[in-house]
Every structure is written in structure tokens, then in C-alpha cells.
Amino acid sequence: MVDLKVNLGGLQLKNPVTTASGTFGFGTEFADFFDLSLLGGIFVKGITLKNREGNDYPRMAETASGMLNAVGLQNKGIDYFIDSIYPEIKHYNTEIIPNVNGSTVEEYIEVTEKINEVEGINAIELNISCPNVKEGGMAFGVSCPSAIAVTEAVRECFDGTLIVKLSPNVTDITEIAKGVEGAGADAVSLVNTFLGMAIDAQTRKPLLSTITGGLSGPAIKPIALRMVWQVFNAVKIPVSGMGGIMNATDAIEFMLAGATSIQIGTANFIDPQVSVKVIEGIENYCKDNGFDSVTDLVGALEV
């Protein structure tokens, strides 16, 4: 029997496999395909203080081994989440982790304060790395002082596990990781999407309404893996790793590079059942290679 439990900065996960914010809706969209209670956790889609319509369409373009999105945090706001969505999903036997967004530090604080009152929510993911909104979002995540400021502010008003989601669009991601660690983050998650662009050569127009969007999928995996490994070696808090994970082997690579748990994003669109397959694959790998606990994989890369 392999022990699949992991501890992500105080948050107990029954296994290291979670689904990434914005790619798994609120979970219910996948309930037809498998039992959501099998998951370690669900990072639900990005939530803001007020209702947001998101960006104009087109919002999506396919690229080589990846995709660009420009959703722009469309959601009905935190009150709607707490009143209408959370009651529908809280019975799943898995961690529900809201992804918190804001255009100002105050907005981050207000959303977090409301979540802090909700029973059953043990962690939040602070998104300071969304490339698809004009104000806030990535602007917080690419500068160290602002990343620290928002983390400190949210830390003060949240009692559970605070996971800060980092942007890969930076010169040195370890600097930001160390900054938010010092500011009180319990864990970091990385990476969010890379700022990219696609053009239709025939119409000579951008393929996204916002011109640029966020790149995800296997295309980014080598860069994401490098960043997870760098951050693992730079901070003491645990890492939730993601970026192009398509199968159990990819997930194991992220854990070897230093991820305590992993998130599956774009792969959910290709195979809605991928996350359960990854759980099984990790368990089999541990059995085949004599690991009693999945935590033995974390950072086990031999360099």
C-alpha cells in the first residue's frame, strides 16, 4: 500500500493530484466523467469581488502542443460563489480551493475576508499572475514589492493555508518566491500561463480579441519544470507544480523536480478523465519503484 497523502503547507491532501484553476470549472462540469471525491483537491475557477464579464471573444487559439486563452476572469463574484456554488460542491470529499483575484490589494483582501468566514474551505490560491486582465493580476506577480505587499495583506486576514500562484513571465522566479515566502505564504503554486500571441496570416489580425493571451499545455512543460526545480531549491515552503502535465509520467517529473502536489490544467480539455489516470499512474510508479510514500518522490531528482 502506497501512502499517497501529502501536506501542502498545512493543507492535507489525500493525494497529490489536483486540478488547476480555470480549467476545471467548479468541478461539477466533470462530475459525469468520474467521482470528484477521488481528487486531492480542486482549484476552482478564478473569483473576483464583483461579477466580471471577462474579455470579448475570440478568447482561444490553438498553438503547437498548447493553447492561448484570454478568458479574463469571467465569474459572477465572490458572493455568488459562496451563496450559490459552494453549497453545491462542498459535499465532495476533496479540498475545494478558491482562486482569489483582484485589481487592487483591497479587493484581494475583501474577497479573502469573505472566504475566511466559509466553513470547510481550508486554503486559498492567491492569483497574482493572470496575464489576461488589464489591471491587477500579473502586474502584482512580476514585481517583487507588489507580490510581497498583496501576500502580506491577505495573510493577515486568512487563517487557512495561503498558496500564492506565481507568474512565469519574470526574469527570476525564485526572487518572487522568496518574497512571498517571507510575506507569509504557506505554499507557492507555479506556473500560471505565459504571455503569448497568435496571428491569422490570412486576415492579418490577431486570433484573440485581447491580442495577447496566456499560453498553457505541454509546450510550456520544460520551462515550468525548470521553474519548479529552481523554486524548490530556493524556498522552504512546499510547491504545487503545474504546466503542461498530460499524464502520470509528467506529474512524476514535476514531483521529482520538487513539487509536493501537482495541478492538471489544459489536459482536462483533452481527456476529462486524465486526473484519475494520473492518480493511478503515480500509485503504480511508487509500487514499481519501491516508494512507500509519494512524498519520497518530492525533489528526489538525482543531480
Partner: protein
């Protein structure tokens, strides 16, 4: 209930050199498939197709566990789907989307063009079951772009327009004589290119007739999880793959 399921390629029926009907067979079949539903098809064996491709469900057969699609080869994915080996495995997520609301009385006009006409087989059959008097109006550039009319004629009258006049009336569907004179339809269904659907919606609005259109969009997931596929409506952005693909044209503000 939605499924992700492996099927095998059973048959191809080529309508011309770029339009084909692909029929897949599975070990089982979800039969709660409604007119207007679509599937997300994984294109096997090609380097450049990363995401699944959304394709309307043309028809299905619960006795044989088959499901079929009417596909126009316009790009790498839809071309590759036309070149699979018989027996090859292909994964589809289905059935997806809402559906056309089938009227229970009166007369229905179904206006379509291009690969947009796929939902009309199922819709025509459902209307016939309810004894609705149904008219199909199918448009194309030339007679070589007009397909499935034999199939439609099982469910009702078939009218055709072509831009060059090579079949049916000459011109666009919107110029067809069915719209002039006595017009006693109480429902219009439309599917096809946006400009065509908008023009039909405008006529429907003028005549004050209830009209439903099925929208396309760039889709990543097809199940409402990514919010990539929204369309603006009078009630704000709506998710095309779950809140649609079928919308009342009034809600679209058309």
C-alpha cells in the same frame, strides 16, 4: 449523461471531395442525444492538432451503437478525420450542448447552409414524430454545395437556393420566395454561417416569429469548464458550449 468514450471508425461516405459523413461504432452508446447536440472529437495521429474538435452529431443508431457526423474538411483536423483507417480508435466526448426546442404544433421552417445543416436530421425526425409540417430551406453557392436533401425529404418539403442558380432558386436563402407572400410558419430554426443566421433572425424578428440559431465558437473543452467560448447576449456573456449552442435569436440581440 456526458461520456468520454472510444469508438471505432466504421464507414466513410464521401459527398464530394471535401464533405463526408463519418460513422463510428462503439461497444455501447448513450442514446439521450438531442437535436443540436455536438461531440468533441479527438483527432488521432497528427502532430498539429492539440485540442479536440467540436462537431455536431448528425445521427445515431442505438441498435448498432453507431453515431455519425457530417464534416467539411476545411483544416488540418477535419482533413485528418477524413483519412483514418477503418477500425481505427477515436475518442469522443458526447453528447454536448443544449438542443433545439422542438415545437409541439404549427409549421416549422429549418434554414441552413454549409456544414451547419447536420442538426437538421435529428430535428426533422423529432418534428415529424409530432406531426409538425416541416419545410427545409437549404442554401449553397452552387448545386455542388447542397447536401443531405434526400434525407431531409423524408421529414418534409425541401427548398433550395444557390447563388449561381444551378439548383433551386437563385440567390441567398433570405431571398427565397418562401419568405414572401403567405408566411404561416410559427417557428424558424437556423444553423450555418453567422451572416446567414443573422439575416434569417432579422426576418424572423420582422415577422415576429420565434427563431432559434445554433452558434459556433472557438472551443477548448466543450463542457463549460474553460469559458473560452462565450458569446455576448442581451443577458451578458453566455457560454456557447453549455448554455448554447442553441439560442433564441432575440437573446442574441440579432
Amino acid at each position: 449523461m456526458k461520456h468520454v468514450q472510444d469508438f471505432k471508425v466504421k464507414t466513410y461516405r464521401w459527398l464530394n471531395d471535401e464533405n463526408y459523413i463519418l460513422t463510428l461504432q462503439g461497444e455501447s452508446l448513450e442514446t439521450e442525444i438531442l437535436p443540436g447536440n455536438f461531440a468533441e472529437i479527438r483527432v488521432p495521429g497528427i502532430a498539429d492538432v492539440f485540442l479536440r474538435r467540436p462537431i455536431s452529431i448528425l445521427d445515431f443508431n442505438p441498435t448498432e451503437n453507431t453515431i455519425s457526423f457530417y464534416i467539411k474538411a476545411i483544416g488540418k483536423g477535419t482533413r485528418q478525420l477524413g483519412e483514418l483507417q477503418i477500425g481505427e480508435t477515436i475518442s469522443i466526448v458526447y453528447p454536448l450542448g443544449n438542443s433545439y426546442s422542438v415545437v409541439e404544433e404549427g409549421k416549422a421552417l429549418l434554414v441552413g447552409g454549409g456544414s451547419g445543416i447536420a442538426p437538421f436530421i435529428q430535428l426533422g425526425r423529432e418534428l415529424k414524430k409530432r406531426n409538425i409540417q416541416t419545410t427545409f430551406l437549404i442554401g449553397g453557392r452552387t448545386k455542388n454545395d447542397v447536401f443531405l436533401t434526400d434525407e431531409f425529404s423524408e421529414f418534409g418539403e425541401v427548398l433550395v437556393t444557390t447563388e449561381d442558380g444551378s439548383r433551386g432558386e437563385k440567390g441567398f436563402v433570405t431571398h427565397h420566395s418562401v419568405f414572401s407572400g403567405d408566411f404561416d410558419f410559427n417557428k424558424i430554426y437556423t444553423c450555418g454561417p453567422d451572416p446567414m443566421m443573422k439575416a434569417i433572425a432579422k426576418i424572423a424578428g420582422e415577422k415576429n416569429i420565434n427563431c432559434e440559431a445554433s452558434l459556433e465558437n472557438m472551443m477548448a473543452c466543450g463542457i463549460g469548464a474553460c469559458l473560452c467560448c462565450v458569446t455576448p447576449t442581451v443577458n451578458g456573456n453566455k457560454v456557447v458550449c453549455t448554455e448554447g449552442t442553441v439560442f433564441n435569436t432575440k437573446e442574441l440581440g440579432w
